[in-house]
Symmetry: C2
Subunit: 203 residues, 2 copies
DNA sequence: TGTAAATAATGAACACTGTTCATTATATTT
DNA sequence: AAATATAATGAACAGTGTTCATTATTTACA
């Protein structure tokens, strides 16, 4: 049956088109400000059509989230390559913070947006899990070589993640304004803070 | 002129009523899910009336934020009273995390919600500033007594805050689901993580 | 006290939002 | 060519923040 094959192909292509368009618009304008109607208009279809391919706006979010986790993992793999576990950890920290600062809207929908996380989705478990796994592996290496002041791998991973996320998200949400620091200086302050943090928990 | 006095009093009373009602509803249902219409209905006035006392929904948010910062500061003052600077720092950490876990909607509008922060508002600068100031003072004490591995006060304050905020906000936004931890265990894990973190940066 | 001016409150209207579903158009099969 | 199955539509629903001409109330003055 060549017809059913083509139909299936067309269906996945349409899903792809919607997903790619959504990602692009989420990146530019943010998740909240991107409406289903505007996505539909961008691909020159009616709003109702979106719902033939995605259950709701949340499902579109999950899809993009999974992809975004994949992107972050790629950067980790490319940029955090040192054989020295501590240096690799520092690289992970730098990469994470820069990723957040350079892709604010993407970071937002990955880690800040309010959404019922469905971790059961394959793409989520795969990408999100591997992303966190990269950090866990890195810290596991540090701990087994007795280079850290924290000995529980999960705990250490959580702490490193939380610190980096805290720095990035407080900045993205403009909460660092209460500190009297110049706007331009902030990226370097965040990076420096993360480094000082890692230095402090390092033996 | 007794009349203008009464008028002014009535005006501030009305503002108070709206602010208090908004706070209550924000706490129960969250900022986003609380509509101007529902606030108006709660105080038995028409929607338009709200706009005679507040410029827009954001202004209502600022007002409540300022009050919330004040609340957190109160808890700091009441619960973080140790004369030992390091123990006081640990108390601050515990208080902050518990505050976030016990008042999720309040924490949300204080530190997570997307909003053009207008730090220039008096109530903001006062409460928000004092709140952060409490932490700064505490860390200043620790550093001057050479108890910390980080020597820059602002940097240390930022780091402690970021870590605590990272832990709380990742949890409030369900991002810790990728770690396989039982839901009930999380509060203790966060507290424990914060303690381990402070222990690690302590000499 | 009666009327004019000032103040306060209203609620319909505007331009949006996500989502649904009866209707219409297109493509495939018989 | 007709019948069927699939795909797309767009109006409608219930909701949002916000504005503003209209109405109601209160105050000030003659």
């Amino acid at each position: 049956m060549g017809v059913t094959d083509r139909k299936e192909r067309e269906k996945t292509e349409m899903r792809e088109l919607i997903r790619a368009t959504a990602l692009k618009m989420f990146l530019e304008d943010g998740y909240a400000k991107t409406s289903i109607r505007s996505i539909a208009e961008a691909i020159e279809y009616s709003p109702g059509t979106i719902y033939l391919y995605f259950k709701d706006k949340d499902e579109l979010l999950y899809e993009v989230q999974g992809e975004a986790y994949g992107q972050l993992l790629e950067v980790f793999k490319k940029e955090a390559t040192s054989t020295d576990p501590l240096e690799k950890l520092r690289q992970v920290g730098r990469v994470y913070i820069n990723f957040g600062l350079q892709n604010p809207e993407l970071y937002d929908l990955m880690f800040i947006i309010r959404a019922p996380m469905n971790v059961d989705e394959e793409i989520h478990k795969a990408n999100g899990g591997n992303c966190f796994g990269f950090l866990v592996d890195c810290l596991s290496d540090c701990i087994s070589k007795k280079l850290l002041r924290i000995n529980d791998v999960e705990q250490a991973s959580l702490l490193v993640w939380a610190t980096a996320h805290g720095l990035v998200s407080l900045n993205l949400r403009c909460r660092l304004k209460i500190m009297d620091q110049a706007e331009e200086a902030i990226p370097q302050i965040l990076i420096k803070s993360m480094e000082d943090y890692l230095a402090a928990v390092t033996i």
